[in-house]
Each structure stands twice: as structure tokens, then as C-alpha cells.
Symmetry: C2
Subunit: 407 residues, 2 copies
């Protein structure tokens, strides 16, 4: 029926509908990230994946994607009637972005839902992790994810934040809740944490199990340009100094536009002891940049795979930053210069990285952890084993982090 | 800065970023439906549109799409460095689906946001209508759009409904609201009315102007298969009898799963006088099929470009149904057989169509309107001038319909 219903308008309008009828094999199952009814991509029991595309006139088709998919690109083979396919090696569990390279052009897979990544709509594949049900939609009470529009004085534009309200929010109209501000990574947007990250189900499950406090989670779009400000150019090798103006504009959005909107619109506890900030990758950088600069606003600060920036005014490429340059006395405007004061003021500093992430991330974050601990700064360090700079790392991070908040 | 931020992860990981730098001309502006920062598609003052794609190795690229885009497909021309482009004739205002045909394969435009249509993620272009600000995001109080998960006993699956709550919903905890159940068309899903249709902004604007009652709007996914039921095959030429089992399953979802969930979760007025159902195209068919069958549940029924089905058990192709077959005595299980009783029981029957829609829609809906009026059935008939079987028709429809509800 689903197949039928999709094509009804086409049928009514006299168009035929082209549908994949390929089967990837009896032992495989369509990915949960497929559009409903699409048989491929299909995942085999060993986590190898069969991808297909109908492209009778194409000369070459490849599959490429995120690290956990394996070392691609994977050339597809042309079969009968222009049916291209390939079965890739076993993938790492979790969510991976991917795309087809069709005669040299990167295109989305029409069989996949799309996910905002790399600054555009990108295909994604959900590879199940055996035994991991902490991000599944389980028969427990569920919160809502609300789209909230607000006018930013900083940027002069209407912005949209997504707001998770925990189960029971509407039914307990006198209860007030703490708030976690949770940011996506570079190239993603405010939809990342719920669509790719499944943050709402992670929270639902933790709250149902009594492992996390019921909390509001606010996910905003992590880009901002001040009124009249021109956008910086993209340049591989950009430096912290290149990033800074945009981070400062986003800081003003968070502090002066978003937090007042949230505190006015939801039943929050509007003080620092009930406010956390966390983010992944670029969002982790923003969390350290903004959160450590506003410890009057946040008592909990968490960076998930966020590059450590030793000097925010450096003109050296980010990727070249050496962990040896990280000085706990001066970093982040001296936030750590008095470890005792920091420890008594900050309820939680949380840093994490996946063990399969590039050296850039592991060395930088690991080096900062070592230096901070040596200086006497109290922190939680979490490693996600075997996962790369991808969403499975950040799901695990959130599952570790959320229970530590607002205790 | 936005450009920069998107590519940060790529930069950090050592990838270069490829970005459109093409300009469509000084008189054009990027479409609001583009991903942020993408300069094309760009819309000229006469509503002609420039599309571009980087495809150095492609042999042919065309643009194709919805009716309002014009009579395509439009062949693109290869310029320097594999830069393909075309400027299409002036388009009809409104939202149009479109796609590229790249060496014979239909693919999404990486510069466009994606919209769920045709059973997959599809590119879309928003062409402004001069003077129309009823669907703009204006400086008025805004409601929220909430994602609500619920377990359907009918299908055995977790389903997601999107729920618009009007401005002031949280601030007036003793106020109860009427509910409009609002369905998308074939090939679309529960996101259609807010992403393509901008229903939340239409309601915000109407409510702010005092033209519509504050109401809750529930948008569900209009497909359902009972537990263990196999999905019907897609077949151009399918008949009402082919459609019926799926519609009946969806009917049970609405009546037995969704309405009880909504009435238990939100401050509704849970009676028929405060409950409406409306839908577009396939959703209009569903509204007449379900709403007229449950006049004990709905006092307001609206079909937006919904094909009229004279006989739900017919095995003739839908597209072949003649308006002459529509018998007001027997249609829809005799719902109209006693026009006086119908008129006193039903607060509103609303039917609409766009004047540029195919004959299939215009003749069927127009014929039913004529027959119903001749029989003495009271109804509102609305024509959207110059618009096709597309979203601009349905935005106008909602803007006409919503003020008539719950009066």
C-alpha cells in the first residue's frame, strides 16, 4: 500500500513510476535510514552493505562516504538493464553519511532519506549495533521535539531552534526543568542531533530508566553572521582567527537571543546550576569558546570530539595546532588558571573522543586532558572505542554525558 | 562565515571543499529553498530561474520538475570547467519540485534543500508571489510545530505526527482548542504541510490578524499497513478498489490511534464540533473517505484538489472515473442522500481545485460540486487561479479554509 500511495499522484497524472525491485539477498534487510519501502541499501548480517542504482547510461558509479563505511570509494558494477550495484566490506556500526559519484558528480541516493551534512542534503545509512538499544525508540514515555522560531537581534533574521521537552512536560505544569544547549558539527544544522543523533530517544530512554534528570534540550543552528556582516570565505587551512568572528556572533545569539527566548518560553530553572552547554566537533569548539567565557551562565561544559584551540587569535591552520602549545594558564582566556577555583565553580567539564578518530582530534584532545589533569583541573574524559569522527561516537557521548548533568 | 563553518570538518580532515561560485546575474537572487549560502538556483525579477551544476564529465544534464516550472525538461548547456547551466522561462509563483536528469538519472540538486515528494527526497524551489505575505514568517506571535511519537495498534509501529500548537498554547494552560487533522498528498509525508506548505506560518498570520480561531493542527503520515498486511504493488491505472485497504487501515489509525493520542496529550475540545479533517490530493480522497464515514467525529470536512471517487469498490482506473458517474444519492455510502440532514449536521463541506490543474481534477471536482449543489447540499467551492496541482494551490486553500473552521 505504501508503494502504491506514493505513486498515486504520478499515476493520476499519467506518469509511470520507477521503483527499485532489486533484492540484495535473503539474508539482508533494508536500512532503517532508507525511504519507506526502498529495498536497498540493504545490510547483511556481517554488516556488509549492498548499494544499488538504476543508471542505464552512466559510465561509472561509485559509493563514497563516512569513515565507518570503510576505505572507499567503492566502484559499482553495471548489471542487466543498467542496474549498478556493489556490496561494501563490513561497516562499523552507527550512522554514516554516504553518496554516489555518478560520472564524476557526487549525488544523493534516491533510496535514502536525506540528512543535513557537508552543508547540503546528504544520504545516510544506519548500521545497527548489536545489543545497543539506548538510541532505539522503545516502549517508554516519549518527549516531544518542538520547532521554535525566534527573531535574533544579532543576525536580524528569524532563526529556528529545536527544543526537546521531556516526557510529562505538559502534564506537570508547575515543574521547572534544567536546560542543555546541544550543538551539531560543521556542515550540519539544528536537525543533526535528532535525525542523525537520535538525541530524543537517548534522553527518553535515560529518563525512563531513572538514569538522567528530566531536562529540556535546545538545539540551535550553529552559524551566525551579524547584521551586515559578510560571510568569511571557505579556505582549507583556515585558522582560529578566521573562525573567531563567526563564533563571536553565534555567542551573542546564544547569550542574548536564544537563552532569553528559551527562559521566557519554557519552564526552565534560569540559573547557571541548571544550564549546560555541549557540542560535537565544531559545536565542541563553540562550547569551549562560549561556555568557558560565560561560566556565569553555564555550570556544565562538554566538548564531544571538539578540537582544542590553544590560541583563538592564531593565524596558523587549525589542523596544524600542536597539543604541546596548549598552556593551561593562558588557554581559553585563563579559565583554567586557578584549578581550585575552576573545580569549585564548574560542576562538570567533560571531554571525549573516538579511538578511531584522526590523530588531529585524538592528540589534541588527549593532550589537553593530560595537561589539565596535571594542572589539577577536574574533568571527565570519555573514549568511544572503535568509532570515528561520526555520530556513533556522539550518541555514546551523550549517553555518558546526560546522566552526569544537573546532579 | 557560514560557508566557512560548513567546510570546517572537511578542512580539518584534510578534504578540499567544492563550492558554487557561479553567479546567475546581478538582477537575480538565490531561492529561499536553497541550502544556506548556495547562489543558485537564482530567481530573476521576471521569475525566470537559473539552475547550475558542476559536472565536468557529464554528457547531458536537464532540469525537470513540477508543472509551475514550465514545460520542461530544460536542457542545460555545458560551459567552462564543466559548469552546466540553464535559465528557464518565467515560472508560476509558489513551490515547485524539481530535479536534474544527469546522464539519464534523476538526481537531487546539491544546492537545494530537500522536500519529501514522489516517495523520496526531492529538490524544491520557492518562487515568490508578489504581494503574498500570508505564508511568510512575519513579526507576529508564532506557534510551535511538535514531533509527537505514538504507538499504533493498527500498524504495530511507532508513528510520528507533527502537531502545530498555536501561539499562547503553553501560556494559557486552562484554554482548550479545536483540532484540524490535515493530510499531505501522495508521495509526500507528514512534513509536507509545514516544509512545502508553510501551514504553521499561514496559521500564525491568520490567528494574529484575528481571522482564524486559535487551533491545533495535526499532520500525520498518510500511509498505513495493518500488522502482517503486505503492501499493495504500484501500478499505473490502479483502481479505487486497489486503494481501499490502505485507506481503511489509515482510517483505523486516525480514529483509533491518533485521535485518542491527541486528545490525551493536548488540551483539545474532544467533540465533533471542534474537530475538522482536511487533506490535499490523496489526502483529500482520504478526508472524504474517512471524514464522511465518521460524521460523528468530524463536523468540518475539506478536500483540496482531492479526486472524487464515485464508487470506492470500482475496479476501473481512478483516472478514468467520469464525473457523470457521481450519484449524490449513493456516493460516499449515501452521506449526501438527505441534503437537509447533511446541511444541519455538517458545519462545513469545502471543496477546492486550481484552475491550472489537469482536467482529471477539475472535471471531477467541478462535476461533484455541481451535482451536490443541484441536490441541495451546502458547500464552499474555492478555485485557485492560475495554479496547478502544486503547493501554491493548497497554501491558498488553507488560507481560505482555516478562517471558516470552528465558527
Amino acid at each position: 500500500m505504501k508503494h502504491f500511495a506514493w505513486s498515486l499522484a504520478l499515476v493520476l497524472l499519467g506518469f509511470g513510476a520507477s521503483v527499485h525491485t532489486a533484492e540484495a539477498g535473503d539474508d539482508s534487510a533494508p536500512a532503517a535510514s532508507n525511504v519507506p519501502g526502498a529495498p536497498t541499501p540493504a545490510i547483511h548480517p556481517d554488516r556488509s552493505i549492498t548499494f544499488t542504482l538504476e543508471a542505464p547510461d552512466a559510465r561509472s558509479v561509485n559509493v563514497a562516504g563516512g569513515d565507518g563505511l570503510g576505505k572507499g570509494p567503492f566502484p559499482m558494477t553495471k548489471g542487466v538493464e543498467g542496474h549498478w550495484s556493489v556490496t561494501t566490506p563490513p561497516a562499523v556500526p552507527g550512522f554514516h553519511y554516504y553518496w554516489f559519484v555518478l560520472d564524476g558528480v557526487s549525488v544523493s541516493d534516491p533510496s535514502s532519506k536525506s540528512y543535513f551534512g557537508y552543508g547540503k542534503e546528504t544520504s545516510g545509512i544506519e548500521v545497527p549495533e548489536p545489543g545497543a538499544d539506548y538510541y532505539a525508540i522503545n516502549p517508554v514515555p516519549h518527549g516531544e521535539v518542538r520547532a521554535r522560531w525566534y527573531l535574533s537581534k544579532t543576525t536580524g533574521e528569524w532563526r529556528r531552534a529545536l527544543v526537546y521537552t521531556p516526557p510529562g512536560y505538559d502534564g506537570n505544569p508547575k515543574t521547572r526543568y534544567p536546560v542543555l544547549y546541544l550543538q551539531h558539527g560543521s556542515g550540519e544544522d539544528e536537525t543533526g542531533w535528532t535525525r542523525q543523533g537520535r538525541a530524543q530517544f537517548i534522553l527518553d530512554n535515560l529518563i525512563a530508566a531513572g538514569k538522567a534528570q528530566p531536562m529540556i534540550v535546545v538545539m540551535d543552528r550553529g552559524y551566525a553572521a551579524r547584521v551586515g556582516m559578510s560571510e568569511a570565505k571557505i579556505a582549507p587551512g583556515s585558522s582560529p582567527a578566521d573562525i573567531k568572528p563567526g563564533f563571536m556572533a553565534f555567542e551573542d545569539v546564544i547569550i542574548h537571543d536564544l537563552i532569553p527566548t528559551i527562559d521566557a518560553s519554557y519552564r526552565t530553572v534560569p540559573d547557571r546550576e541548571h544550564r549546560a552547554m555541549a557540542g560535537l566537533s565544531m559545536g565542541g569548539m563553540q562550547t569551549l569558546f562560549i561556555g568557558l567565557h560565560h561560566l556565569d551562565m553555564f555550570a556544565y561544559v562538554a566538548s564531544l570530539s571538539g578540537p582544542i584551540v590553544a590560541d583563538p587569535d592564531s593565524k596558523q591552520p587549525l589542523a596544524s595546532t600542536s597539543p604541546a602549545l596548549f598552556d593551561t594558564h593562558t588557554a581559553y582566556e585563563g579559565a583554567f588558571s586557578d584549578p581550585g577555583a575552576f573545580n569549585s565553580r564548574v560542576k562538570l567539564l567533560w571531554l571525549g573522543v573516538g579511538t578511531a578518530e584522526p590523530e588531529l582530534f585524538r592528540a589534541g584532545i588527549g593532550g589537553a586532558v593530560q595537561a589539565l589533569r596535571a594542572a589539577g583541573v577536574r574533568l571527565v574524559y570519555f573514549e568511544s572505542h572503535g568509532t570515528a569522527h561520526e555520530w556513533q561516537t556522539w550518541r555514546r557521548d551523550l549517553n555518558d554525558l546526560a546522566p552526569r548533568l544537573f546532579r
